[in-house]
Amino acid sequence: MKLLRPLLAVAVLLGACGPAIPDEPAGIVRDPAPEVGSVSLPDLDADGRAFPFVAGAGGVLVVYFGYTSCPDVCPTTLADLRRAMADMDEAESIAVAMATVDPDRDTPEVISGYLHSFFPEGHPLRTEDDAELRAAADAFGADYDVTTSEEGDVEVAHTGFLYAVDDQGQLALTWPFGTTWEDIQGDLRWLLHGG
């Protein structure tokens, strides 16, 4: 454990000499890249106006489909993304959006508060129209299922992927759950520097 600190210091130093941009991304590149820019979901931070899945010019939009009562997969993924972006000079070119797949329990206050505690500028997306949510998820290849057990417990299953969208509205990368924050960071640099 004591070794970790000097190693971290070295890593930081190396980083200062020029951030590593991988030759190939760790995330999954789908061919052809699915087009997601034509779908949108209501953005709670913009009075519910449609938020199209397109990054700003030259930037990257990271999208997650999750829910806030998720104790394991969702906070792990969002914390890894936060860590990946924490020491990136390019972080301001990266937007984050999270769509709740559990709008019944994730009221506007809940999903907004949750996402903003990870990403103060993040876009909380929420709709109660399941057809609209399903259409958005389908565009990404995301899936979810919310059921209530006989005991009345709400059970949620969902794909644990994190998605990167480019400024053309194309799904550029898909990160499976468990992708390390270092790989996410490298891939974000790869995307932002013309990958």
């Binding site: 806030t68 104790p71 914390a79 999903i111 505690s117 899936d143 299922d145 299953a157 794909t159």
Partner: protein, 163 residues
């Protein structure tokens, strides 16, 4: 009386610190700080038992969370698909072989084969705290009381980290 309590507390602390010398040890117990509005949290740790045993129950003070369950995050196979439209992934190019749907399932017990370290870790087994009473903040500590099939019990201090 007071002295006695202090001594007992000291003993208890000592006992916790030396839990590795008991039949079951728990190392690196942690939970991620909870986000605002987050109602459920997960506790992770490494468990090692000297002899075959199993974790059967976990609890925390109700001031932390009233309900505690042992859960496992699992990836569903294609046959487990619950929703009707399960062709989406296939059409777009299969990314994980089985759609990558993840869900949490309660587990009755966590088997601890003798001498083998079993990790409760993100994306796998975890102790789930439901209906968090207060947000978990970095630097907070709380105890989780574990019960094992053998009748052994262990109180483990959990550290809240950024994660």
């Amino acid at each position: 009386m007071k002295k006695m309590v202090v001594m007992l507390s000291a003993l208890a602390l000592f006992a916790t610190a030396c839990s590795t010398s008991g039949p079951i040890s728990a190392d690196d117990a942690w939970a991620r700080e909870s986000a605002m509005m987050q109602s459920a949290a997960a506790v992770y740790m490494d468990l090692t038992a000297d002899e075959d045993d199993a974790l059967v129950s976990a609890s925390v003070e109700s001031s932390v969370a009233p309900t505690v369950e042992i859960h496992e995050t699992t990836e569903m196979g294609p046959d487990d698909e619950m929703s009707g439209d399960d062709d989406d992934m296939g059409e777009e190019g299969d990314m994980s072989g089985d759609g990558g749907m993840m869900q949490m399932v309660p587990v009755e017990q966590v088997d601890l084969p003798a001498g083998e370290t079993v990790s409760l870790e993100p994306g796998g087994l975890h102790i789930m705290l439901l209906d968090l009473t207060e947000p978990l903040e970095i630097g907070d500590e709380f105890d989780v009381d574990l019960e094992f099939e053998s009748g052994e019990t262990l109180s483990v201090t959990v550290e809240v980290r950024e994660g």
